[in-house]
Assembly symmetry: C2
Homo-oligomer: 148 residues x 2
Amino acid sequence: MHAENMAEEYPVLTMESDAVEAARLLAEHRLPGLVVTDKGRPRSILPASQVVRFLVPGYVQDDPSLARVLDESMADQVANTLGGKSVGDLITDEAPELAVVNADDTIIEVAAIMARLRCPLAAVMRDKDHLIGVITASRLLQAALAAK
Amino acid sequence: MHAENMAEEYPVLTMESDAVEAARLLAEHRLPGLVVTDKGRPRSILPASQVVRFLVPGYVQDDPSLARVLDESMADQVANTLGGKSVGDLITDEAPELAVVNADDTIIEVAAIMARLRCPLAAVMRDKDHLIGVITASRLLQAALAAK
């Protein structure tokens, strides 16, 4: 089993993509994260949990009981925290390094690269510069269990 | 919107559950992670990426190019690394602390707790000791975007 056989089509964002649109794609497709490209090359991962973090002011993260006194509705919170922002604004240094694999890498190579980077998804490239899809950790487990 | 309205039914594991069965549940339901209970109470999270990590020997994680020389098939690798192990064996100190929320917590409280713990899912409890479901980060974004 090679990476190209495991890769799935996935929405892909750029650093300039709209942050609200990124939240919408994660929500609609129920994805753990999205691949972010820069000048056509996979560059970073935007985990859904990172977008959730942006919805919450820092002082409420420090003391979640303060969420009760927050005046804003969640809709306002989305507009205030994500509105007008780009995906690049949401990506911090804390994001895991994106795993990038080649179409002909074996399943064990893909697992090794995801494991080493502690990244929950891998971007699959053909000829080093054409992104053909994405492999999530759960997709990799599915392929591993189906392997003969 | 309260936690109980966002919670979804999810397979739940115990520390004693079979590790191969855990991999199968993550794969079948394409989940980013599973809630692990201990004596009926949510105790930890088993991320799919953590199970992937277990499939790969340490020396291959350090140098993924060695995956090419690995003799085992992926099926053997699953049997060798997960066979006979329990979920408790897969959970290391590195796992994020599981977010646990109450059924009547608001969506902003849930987001705040997930954000603070950097946990990609939250277990939802009613009356402090009955687990009624799970909220993933992408489910929370879905609810946030639907909020009026």
